[in-house]
């Protein structure tokens, strides 16, 4: 299984922890391609002129996306329905939300099984243990203060190598 990235969002829509295992390419393939004529782009396809996304853009997009998808799912399936994951041709996004509305998001390759239970484990055994129970960490984590401490980072690292299915 290939991991692409992992995000934690708090209930104030802020990304308090982000970890990536792939650098975002500086320019996408379509941007580098020379344009032979304007007729190619005339069909409303603005992709070649768009700038590459930065990391913070990514975080905002991911949050907005899971937020809307979650709303769509509850609207269609009723209040007890929860959004689990989605898959595109390139990657799969796994989602877990705690009762306190913290959101755990993980991006993997498309063949990964559902990782909801593992995200729950990360919350229960790592986040609660090393961040919530840390007497020095603030209650809220604006700008991610207090989340990315040594124990939590090491715990995530160990969890990914030992617990997650290969």
């Amino acid at each position: 299984m290939v991991l692409y990235s992992f995000y934690i969002f708090d209930r104030h829509t802020e990304c308090i922890y982000a970890r990536r295992w792939t650098p975002r390419p500086a320019s996408s393939g379509t941007a580098a391609r020379p344009q032979s004529g304007s007729s190619i782009t005339s069909n409303g396809d603005a992709a070649p002129t768009r700038k590459a996304l930065t990391h913070s853009d990514d975080e905002k997009l991911v949050f907005g996306l899971v937020f809307s998808l979650r709303n769509l799912v509850t609207k269609l399936g009723g209040d007890d329905d929860t959004f689990l994951s989605y898959r595109t041709g390139e990657y799969k996004l796994h989602y877990y939300e705690t009762p306190t509305r913290m959101k755990f998001v993980m991006l993997t390759d498309t063949k990964a099984p559902n990782l909801r239970q593992y995200l729950h484990q990360i919350w229960a055994t790592l986040y609660v243990e090393y961040v919530v129970k840390n007497p020095l960490a603030p209650t809220e984590h604006p700008m991610g203060i207090g989340v990315a401490n040594e124990l939590f980072e090491a715990g995530i690292e160990a969890f990914i190598t030992k617990v997650l299915p290969v």
């Binding site: 692409y4 990235s5 990536r20 792939t22 975002r24 390419p25 996408s28 393939g29 379509t30 190619i40 396809d45 996304l53 990514d58 997009l61 991911v62 907005g64 996306l65 809307s68 998808l69 769509l72 799912v73 609207k75 269609l76 399936g77 009723g78 007890d80 329905d81 929860t82 959004f83 689990l84 994951s85 989605y86 898959r87 595109t88 041709g89 390139e90 990657y91 996004l93 991006l107 390759d109 559902n114």
Partner: protein, 128 residues
């Protein structure tokens, strides 16, 4: 699945369209090099990241199929439904046969083709 008003469905369809575009933009994997030999004509459809294909929730599953021209087919199934891909292919065939080949159908208008409805009903009943 709860029944919603047609306005709600329009809102959801609109936001789904946007989310589909965002999912394609978020693709973290490096772009796959063009698998076709250089001699073949360049196609605008290769190498473009696909948007959302399957969405899973605890109660249902949405299979999304986008045609080359951008029409999206959404199939709502149970989470454990097998062979959704082939079902989608078949529905696309029905659409091509009974909607696109219908001389009275105007493109991008709501589909009101009795034969398509019947074909779809028959197909789903046979599968069920």
């Amino acid at each position: 699945m709860s029944k919603l008003s047609s306005n709600d469905y329009l809102t959801l369809a609109g936001s789904f369209h946007g989310m589909h575009a965002i999912t394609a933009r978020l693709s973290p994997a490096p772009a796959v090099p063009n698998p076709l030999p250089a001699s073949s004509a360049p196609s605008p459809f290769i190498n473009r990241p696909t948007g959302l294909e399957v969405l899973e929730s605890s109660h249902f599953r949405i299979q999304c199929f986008q045609t080359q021209t951008g029409t999206k087919f959404l199939l709502f199934t149970e989470p454990q439904q097998p062979n959704v891909d082939t079902m989608m292919k078949r529905i696309y065939e029905l659409y091509a046969d009974y909607v696109m080949k219908n001389p009275f159908y105007t493109v991008e208008m709501p589909i009101r083709c009795e034969k398509f409805d019947r074909g779809l009903d028959g197909f789903v009943k046979v599968r069920g």
